[in-house]
């Protein structure tokens, strides 16, 4: 509908939990994120973080509801909703019932939805957990608490300029425009020697991947385990 252009974006992004009536005429530049977290506090925060970066948000409290929203619940039916396209799924790892990892597997296991990038959030810095998620096809892994810089980085890495296709090797597209404290990520093969400082200045060397999302990956092959970003504020624990 034409009013999309007239109303202020912030007003339009007002209600996150319900389904938007504008679904039939999405602003093609607006990223729609499905956020999954059982904590209401965290849902509020992530919702706000996403809205402030001009994303459309749908926040749900469980993996089950996320699948229902996608129309993937149980019978693998195709989308029951009015084609509200989801561009990114961001989910907490630790949730009762279905964990973020299990949700990730379900999404990557679906032919309809496995192209949707999935980002995992966790308050725990556990390398095995991170590796497992990446192997299962997670786009990125964010350590909580989630900050504005994390969301900005995600958005610009995945959707900066045009929509990024997974095979896109154009690292210059991921170049950050602003200072979003992204740690310098060490070499690609280095997964036990991760030394990142919590808030370094922004890096603008296009040759260095700054996060997993800047690695080319195809849906069917697992993303190689890699030095995660913003990790290891505390030492990691196995298991």
């Amino acid at each position: 509908m034409a009013k999309n252009g007239v109303f202020s974006r912030l007003r339009r992004l007002d209600r996150a939990e319900g389904v938007d009536d504008f679904s039939t005429c999405n602003d093609s530049h607006e990223v729609h994120v499905l956020a999954v977290d059982d904590s209401l506090v965290d849902r509020k925060v992530i919702e706000r973080l996403l809205k402030i970066t001009s994303c459309k948000v749908t926040a749900v409290d469980s993996g089950r509801r996320a699948l229902q929203f996608l129309g993937l619940d149980e019978e693998e039916k195709s989308v029951g909703f009015d084609g509200l396209k989801v561009d990114l799924i961001i989910t907490d790892y630790c949730m009762p019932g279905m964990t973020g990892y299990e949700l990730l597997k379900k999404i990557k296991g679906s032919s309809t939805f496995r192209e949707i990038p999935v980002v995992i959030m966790s308050s725990e810095n556990i390398l095995t957990r991170i590796d497992r998620c990446l192997e299962e096809g997670a786009e990125d892994f964010i350590v909580k608490p989630v900050k504005l810089s994390d969301v900005k980085r995600l958005k610009s890495c995945m959707f900066g300029g045009n929509r990024i296709q997974k095979q896109d090797k154009g690292l210059n597209k991921r170049k950050l425009q602003d200072n979003s404290g992204v740690p310098l990520s060490p070499t690609l093969d280095d997964d036990d020697d991760v030394s990142s400082s919590p808030s370094p200045p922004s890096i603008s060397s296009p040759s260095l991947p700054r996060s997993f999302s800047s690695l080319p990956s195809s849906p069917s092959s697992p993303t190689p385990p890699d030095s995660p970003t913003r990790l290891l504020k505390t030492s990691d624990e196995e298991e």
Partner: protein
């Protein structure tokens, strides 16, 4: 006079915030929340914090309920409550509360009931302190908004007392 009180209130707020940061009660994540507050979401911080209070008090009740039972043994359940408490505390920048949760969780992992009880006492204390201080902060903020608002009608309606 009103102009003065707006500035004084703002100074009071900043002083209180500085104190809380200095004490480690709050950390940078709280600042992050403040950055997310603007005209389109003018009460964001207090909304999130109020949700946090509501959830925290439930968790504290659950924790106490588990521990008062002399035959308590469900440390796993306690761990789940603690993880939730830790997570939400970290999300709003409640650093000290979060740190006590970490210690509490360690005691819980060792099945140390006495240690857990001590940690719970400390947790309740820290939580109360945080809640009081944040309420104080919000009160000053409200007063500041009121004080700032009162000026304008007087400018527009000079006959208003």
């Amino acid at each position: 006079m009103l102009g003065l009180s707006v500035d004084r209130l703002r100074a009071d707020m900043n002083r209180l915030l500085a104190l809380l940061f200095h004490q480690g009660v709050l950390d940078e994540q709280f600042l992050q929340l403040q950055q997310l507050q603007d005209e389109s979401s003018p009460n964001f911080v207090s909304e999130v914090v109020n949700i946090y209070f509501h959830e925290s008090e439930k968790l504290l009740r659950n924790l106490r309920g588990l521990l008062v039972d002399k035959e308590f043994s469900d440390y796993k359940k306690m761990g789940i409550h603690l993880n939730q408490f830790m997570g939400s505390s970290s999300s709003i920048g409640a650093q000290r509360v979060r740190n006590v949760c970490v210690a509490f969780r360690a005691a819980s992992e060792q099945n140390n009931r006495a240690g857990c009880l001590r940690a719970l006492e400390l947790l309740e204390y820290e939580y109360c302190y945080l809640k009081n201080k944040l309420h104080e902060l919000f009160q000053i903020e409200q007063q500041r908004i009121l004080a700032a608002g009162v000026r304008y009608p007087q400018q527009q309606q000079p006959n208003n007392p």
